[in-house]
């Protein structure tokens, strides 16, 4: 175990594995849409880190995984934006399609 943590490649890959597990847990347990989005993104970035750590040799990461990870980061952002829009529209309609003016509501939840 110790020599695995002493090696940079497997240290980051194992961190990635732990992030995937953590995100998976959050995705199952959480109900609030924003928390689920965050958990889902943690899974994604965990996979990226796993991928990057696994392909780390000597001075750097293999360029092919790097290109795939960049693609993945941008796609993850696009889908997060879609999911966030979906969640907001769902909350606005509140299951009642007739309520078309939900966005004029100025109530805000306090933080504490």
């Amino acid at each position: 175990m110790m020599e695995l943590l002493a090696d940079r490649a497997s240290l980051f890959a194992l961190t990635g594995a732990a992030l995937v597990a953590l995100g998976f847990y959050g995705f199952i347990i959480q109900r609030a849409p924003i928390r689920r989005l965050i958990a889902f993104n943690v899974i994604g970035s965990g996979i990226f880190l796993l991928f990057g750590g696994a392909s780390y040799v000597g001075g750097g990461v293999d360029p092919v995984p790097q290109a795939l990870i960049i693609t993945g980061i941008v796609v993850a952002l696009a889908l997060t934006a879609f999911a966030a829009t979906l969640a907001v529209r769902l909350a606005e309609s509140g299951g009642d399609d007739a309520d078309d003016d939900g966005d004029d509501d100025e109530d805000r939840e306090s933080d504490r």
Partner: protein, 309 residues
Amino acid sequence: MSHAFDLALCALILGAAVLAVTGRNVFGAIVFYVVYGVLLALAWLILGAVDVALAEAAIGAGVTGVLLIGAWQGLADAGGLEDEAPRPVFLRLAAVAGAGALGGLIALAVISLPGGDGLTLAVVDNQDRLELGNPVNAVLLGFRAYDTLLETLVLTAALAAVWSLTRTRVWGGVPGPGHVTRPDGVMASFGRLLPPAGLLVAVYLVWVGADAPGGAFQAGTVLAAVWILIVLSGLQDEPRLNSLPLRLMIIAGPAVFLGAGLAGAAAGAVMGYPDGHAKSVILVIEYALTLSIAATLALLIAGPARRAP
């Protein structure tokens, strides 16, 4: 010393992720997620993957925060922010067990991975044929250009999906709440000061991208961030979504990309670059992609139209 930093960074990344996933307060979770993005960018820097670090810095630490805070606002206004009903104990236990098993399996797979040189040599040996000094961009726009073409189409499709959630009576209208700020205030001044610097950085990133870390995705994200900043600071409202120039800007990148691929048929290979002119074609594609990615990302963050055109 370097190793101590690696260990501390990984521990902090995990800590920030734990707080982002399980923290009690939703706004706090967003803050931790932004922090997590900054730390991940540093992790990529440590791994020597500067291109990925740039993308993560621009997206994870910059744009995602604005996106999530916007969603937080929308959900708070609609009263759908929090669902406090706790999960039953057996589900929590099952989730812990499942997550533990998943993480353990992946860790086991990582440990048993055979070593190897990967594809680095194959890329470095062949990137001269594209006349690109940056191996990552040689993969993105050369060897795996199909992936990148399809990715830009995924971005466009995601934008179409977001727009499909528009209320019928405001279709083609203006997204966002219509930001108004004090004209001589700090926010408006910031909106005037930062965009020139952001523009400079974006042009620089796409310019050096051929030979050094940078490129269309990183530059496009920085441009999108500049766009969002101008809107947030109330200097310029979002455009109407049914405007033709805007739609053309969104599809310019994929269209030029696809056009270059089809034009390759004339030079001998469909979806291939003409020998000897690969770099000039790639640069044209890259500039068009930068604009399209910037517009698409900025509009994805802005969401569907909310005011009539």
